[in-house]
Symmetry: C2
Subunit: 369 residues, 2 copies
């Protein structure tokens, strides 16, 4: 990818993303201080991912908050394409969905798009993606959603409910629309072409407006949904977008399931975590210790620092201390990495325990045996 | 449509079809005397639609007969796109499917493609096509299929069973394939583009080879299925094609549900039938009686005669008598039409009675309430 260029679609994230440019390209709204205040006031609480701009962009978020103020219902929907193991980048919108459920008391739907990943990945069978869907569901359940207000949907298993809604949407989207939004061409398989209607269908699974926390790469699907909504006399889905978790190597693109050294998986062992971070995490430090002590490191490009900021260190005071120490040169790259390794392994120890417990509770979220 | 040209696709039949040319264009096999003999011998009985070339073309019919001779199972599948009332053109492949069930003891699946007609018809809602599907099912059941060996499938209602099979097929068909086979373009909606996979899925609803009696306009769907079958390590569907029932006015195209004076519907009253045939059936007679008596009529282009030949007069001796009388000028157009009107009304009286009885028996064929 030439310098300064980047691609963001549901199936490809390449290059270093310029999020200001992406907001313009996609036509979304930045979450400005006024909007942040509005969300925080309605929620009665702040969230560090909101405060730190991990959630940076939205569509119609204001409308959802206004609705809530009038005590009118909305629901939350997020999901995952089960192409491999879950990594911490996947957890970002789910964690936010959990927070929305806690703060607003809303129903949450979690969609596992086994059909999509089957259509888009040459090497995966439908049995593969169905199996991965159940594994990914464990990570979702591990986050502690209220079973009474949460439903997990697997596309092929819940297709009876999704297809009639998807059909309403599919009739109003033509091939040229998908070409414009996803870059589809003659070689695109017809499962992929239709699939966007299945993802859109989730927006109308309840008879209330939906709010979707999601990685910004998924926005194109719902741009189509929003174009179609008036034709169906339905509300447009509201969206709140998070930035993509950068890969460990710090280059362009996103953390990726198919590149195991780019990602920290929820099932990684403490040893995996230590090795990956020490070996692969791109450092903002100087080439030698003397220079680092004198000039300091650059936390803005340091992946260990960024993971702490985006995910593993919710405490602002602690994060600021780490930043200041690293930027001044008091803290070396190895020390910064050691902090991240400790935090990740603490997080994963608790997550992995919850994840194993979840195996016996999938049915409470609507999954069959 | 310029003279001599014609179009045959699942959604458009225009112009006067040259069936010899169509066989070459589609790459199917003519049912020659040897193949007819093979079918008749295996069935232990002839069928007038086979003998008279209404079923004129096939793909791999020989393989199905060979299978049967080795006592290996096959099943039969046919269907209907529920865009309106059933006309006698629709009944042709169903009648043949009934004969196949009687002669070979096979299971029959009947697919009602409510999704397809919703996708392809601007003015129809999914509720409309679902309602029409149930009405069309009555005509199918009225033909007397064995409920123990017959299942009616409505796409939106049976999608849980169809979608995982359709997905396997959809992954192996790209947009260019559908463009080549159906003429799809940028303006085609994504429901239509995907739909062919749903129709193909029926070919694999049982774990045995399928034989599909069908109007030749439906062949393109299964050409795609046959291309995909080796990739799925599945048998190619075998097909036996009937000619399109010509419209009453005798011009190009086919009998059409949306053109009520082109078709005889299964629910037409005796008065409707009389009026339509007398007023609209294209005549092969001479402009005045004297000339007709002297030169005779032309049964080959006379719609009343063709309907008798294709559908309403199974008795060869009686048909030949009518033909000879008409061709010699002994029989006038009005007299020929009177014979057809009588036969049609006899047929419809019995059919309509069976059709009403069918209302209480849809559940025996797997349809919910």
């Amino acid at each position: 990818m030439p310098n300064g260029e980047f691609v963001v679609t549901p199936w490809q994230v390449d290059g270093v993303i310029d999020y200001d440019k992406l907001i313009k390209r996609f036509g979304t709204q930045r979450i400005d201080p006024a909007m942040r205040k509005k969300i925080v006031e309605a929620a009665g609480q702040d969230h560090f991912m909101l405060r730190r701009g991990v959630f940076f962009s939205h569509r119609d978020m204001g409308g959802i908050i206004d609705l809530h103020k009038k005590s009118k219902p909305f629901f939350v929907y997020t999901g995952r394409g089960p192409s491999g193991a879950t990594h911490i980048g996947h957890l970002v919108p789910w964690i936010f969905a959990k927070w929305l459920q806690d703060r607003f008391g809303v129903n949450v739907y979690f969609q596992l798009t086994d059909d999509e990943k089957f259509f888009s990945k040459k090497g995966l069978s439908l049995d593969d993606t169905m199996g991965l869907a159940r594994e990914n569901a464990l990570d979702f359940v591990a986050l502690g959603f209220d079973p009474a207000k949460t439903k997990i949907v697997i596309d092929t298993q819940d297709i009876a409910r999704l297809y009639p809604i998807a059909a309403q949407i599919a009739k109003r989207i033509n091939f040229s629309n998908t070409k414009a939004v996803f870059g589809f061409g003659g070689e695109t398989n017809i499962g992929m072409i239709f699939y966007t209607a299945i993802q859109s269908a989730m927006c109308y699974i309840e008879d209330a407006p939906v709010l979707i926390p999601l990685g910004v790469d998924q926005d194109p699907h719902f741009r189509l949904t929003r174009d179609v909504a008036p034709l169906l006399k339905k509300p447009k889905p509201a969206l709140i977008h998070n930035m993509m978790m950068p890969p460990l190597h710090g280059g362009g693109g996103k953390m990726s399931s198919s590149e195991s050294n780019s990602a920290i998986f929820t099932t990684d062992s403490p040893g995996d975590v230590k090795r990956k971070i020490n070996k692969h995490a791109f450092s903002g430090g100087r080439p030698d210790i003397d220079e680092h002590r004198r000039l300091g490191g650059n936390p803005d490009i340091d992946i260990a620092y960024q993971y702490l900021r985006m995910f593993f260190e919710p405490d602002d005071a602690k994060l600021e201390e780490i930043r200041a120490d690293y930027a001044s040169g008091r803290m070396l790259t190895g020390e910064l990495k050691a902090i991240l390794i400790e935090r990740v392994n603490e997080y994963l120890a608790a997550h992995q325990e919850a994840r194993e417990r979840a195996r016996d509770h999938l049915d409470e979220y609507g999954l069959g045996p």
